[in-house]
């Protein structure tokens, strides 16, 4: 729904919206108090939408002079206890890494949307998934993590926005929504759901003026001997709680699968098409789709790999990771599989999008490889 004044908010009605505008409206419904951003393709619909809708709601919209400024405006608003977000695309997200590191150090909540495009450098404006490392490894300097969502439909993009704000507040950290050019631009029917919201801890740390209380200080500098290490360990304990409690992932026909395809975001949508075709041809293939990229569904993938070990050398599984990059998430898949089964990779880069046929071909190749290796194993036995 891109026409002015037609947003029905959380009425439960099905409407058609592009990903960028849908996530912006979802952020507003999630109580986003302030949006700060700088233009960059392919996410320009977000600031355009926010520039109209935020003032309508009596909230704050500022077009900043740079991504550096945008993330620091988020830093300022968040420090006063407000819900703040920014959005950008790959090169702009690189500029924001300084601020994201400070948000981590100062334990401030923030929501950052990255509508990924091709890189490195200025790259191009086509969809890509090549910022996976940057998003899931922290991205900026220092020992820290950000929660990362990798939604694969406009509906899921809409659904993860309130969750992103809630988790940011709950854990006092940055939550990144990792979309891509396709998801941002694509129009799909969506429903703004009214889900119950969790009770969140009070923001008694916020800078609201030291009235009838001690001064509040928001900082990331810890100079005393051993003080920073203590702070780092406190953050680590928080990250471990998140790894234990916040993993989201979906899987399909994994139980009897000889081949398990792991993919996220838009790549996962294409994989689903390829897997359905392969099943029609009698190939036992399933998929695992991480929804949170950090925390990564290590346990779920590890369990699937254990099944492979249990099945014995004649029934080993192959894990195929498909990405719109030259191989980033595949490293996490390998860490999860931990050598218990072969992990292979298929990816397209620089704005290339894998087709259903390409993935189907790859699945078939793996079927042949499996059969050949089965025969070899039998010979050895």
């Amino acid at each position: 729904m891109t026409e002015e004044g037609q947003i029905s908010n959380s009425s439960g009605e099905r409407i058609l919206m592009c990903g960028n505008e849908a996530l912006a409206e979802a952020a507003i419904l999630a109580g986003c108090d302030a949006y700060f951003g700088y233009p960059i393709t392919p996410q320009n619909e977000i600031p355009a939408y926010m520039s109209r809708r935020m003032p309508e709601e009596g909230r704050v919209f500022v077009q900043s002079e740079s991504e550096l400024a945008a993330i620091n405006m988020v830093f300022g608003a968040s420090a006063t206890g407000k819900r703040a977000m920014t959005s950008s695309s790959s090169p702009g997200i690189s500029l924001m890494q300084e601020g994201i590191s400070y948000l981590a150090g100062a334990e401030l909540p923030a929501v950052v949307v990255n509508v990924m495009r091709g890189g490195p450098g200025l790259g191009n404006i086509a969809p890509s998934q090549s910022d996976y490392f940057q998003a899931t490894r922290g991205g900026g300097h220092g020992d820290y993590r950000t929660i990362v969502f990798g939604p694969s439909s406009v509906q899921e993009l809409v659904d993860c926005m309130p969750l992103a704000f809630d988790l940011a507040d709950q854990y006092r950290m940055t939550v990144m929504v990792l979309a891509d050019g396709i998801l941002g631009q694509m129009m799909e029917p969506i429903v703004f759901k009214k889900n119950p919201r969790p009770k969140l801890p009070p923001k008694d740390w916020a800078l609201t003026g030291a009235k009838d209380r001690e001064q509040n200080i928001v900082r990331s500098l810890w100079l005393g001997e051993g003080v920073l290490e203590k702070h780092n360990n406190k953050l680590k304990a928080k990250y471990e709680r998140i790894e234990k409690n916040e993993v989201l992932c979906e899987q399909y026909e994994v139980d009897d699968a000889d081949i398990i395809v792991v993919a996220y975001g838009v790549a996962a949508r294409i994989v689903q098409g390829a897997v359905a075709r392969a099943r029609e041809e009698g190939i036992k293939v399933g998929w695992i789709r991480p929804i949170t990229l950090w925390p990564f569904p290590t346990e779920q993938i590890s369990r699937a790999a254990d099944e492979s070990v249990k099945a014995g050398p004649l029934r080993f599984r192959i894990f195929l990771t498909v990405e719109m990059s030259l191989g980033q998430m595949v490293e996490d898949v390998k860490l999860a599989v931990a050598g218990k089964a072969p992990v292979v990779f298929y990816g397209r880069a620089g704005g290339g999008v894998p087709t259903v046929e390409e993935i189907l071909d790859k699945i078939k190749q793996l079927t042949i490889r499996r059969k050949t290796q089965d025969t070899r194993q039998k010979t050895k036995v």
């Binding site: 302030a34 420090a79 800078l207 900082r219």
Partner: protein
């Protein structure tokens, strides 16, 4: 016995980490006095820079944040836009405001952000060991200009306040010096005026530049440093009201 002078409540009672003869102590006291005299302690949020004043929150007893180098005006924007009833100030040195944060201060000014900026200009990077700042004087020796700053090599001292004064989003700029009692009194007056503009909801950015001493990295005795502010610095950075 009659008390004729006492520490103002917003200035904490604690030992200082600043070097002998440093101007930050004076600027901190003026700031704390201003906050108390204007009765804004309960609704003021301060922003500490990266630099010697990074620990400003150890001295000024209001809600405070410490931010990335140079980004204070962007952080202040985020705070003021979401909290128009709060009084927001940033306290920035010359490295912070005139080098790495040039874009942020110019654009906060251009957007007419209703914030107050205290700009400490001591012509040198103090915290990192006395390197050249954008405001370093010609011929001034620093750890990165061992032969003195040469215009042909390192360019000219940057007069940020003059640059900002031409922007319509700026409502008030005054340059003062922390070089002696008379100048300090003027600085206090300027600081108070800058905050009053924000309190009275005058739309736009107010800034007070304070020429401040760094005897350690100027390699001078504190008294000579005070003299150097007046005899040398004011030639390039003339005192007075530039705007408003």
């Amino acid at each position: 016995m009659k008390t004729v002078f006492k520490r103002t409540p917003t200035l904490k009672d604690c030992p200082t980490h600043y070097c002998p003869g440093c101007g930050h102590g004076i600027a901190h006291r003026l700031l704390a006095e201003t906050i108390d005299e204007l009765g804004i302690h309960d609704r003021t949020i301060g922003i500490a820079p990266v630099g010697c004043a990074v620990l400003e929150y150890d001295y000024i007893d209001v809600d405070m944040i410490e931010v990335a180098h140079g980004r204070a005006p962007a952080v202040a924007t985020g705070m003021k836009r979401t909290n128009p009833d709060k009084i927001i100030f940033s306290y920035q040195g010359d490295g912070d405001l005139a080098a790495i944060g040039t874009a942020e201060i110019i654009h906060a000014a251009q957007r007419a952000e209703q914030i107050t900026v205290i700009f400490i200009n001591n012509a040198v990077f103090g915290m990192t060991g006395g390197q050249m700042a954008p405001t370093t004087m010609i011929d001034q020796v620093t750890s990165t200009t061992p032969k003195g700053r040469a215009a042909a090599e390192q360019g000219y001292p940057l007069q940020v306040s003059e640059l900002l004064a031409v922007l319509p989003g700026v409502i008030y700029i005054e340059r003062c010096a922390l070089s002696g009692p008379a100048q300090v009194r003027k600085a206090k007056k300027a600081m108070k005026h800058a905050f009053e503009l924000q309190i009275n909801n005058t739309k736009g950015l107010s800034l007070v530049e304070l020429l401040s001493s760094c005897p350690t990295y100027w390699r001078m005795k504190p008294a000579d440093a005070m003299e150097w502010i007046e005899s040398e610095m004011t030639k390039v950075f003339p005192l007075g009201r530039l705007k408003g």
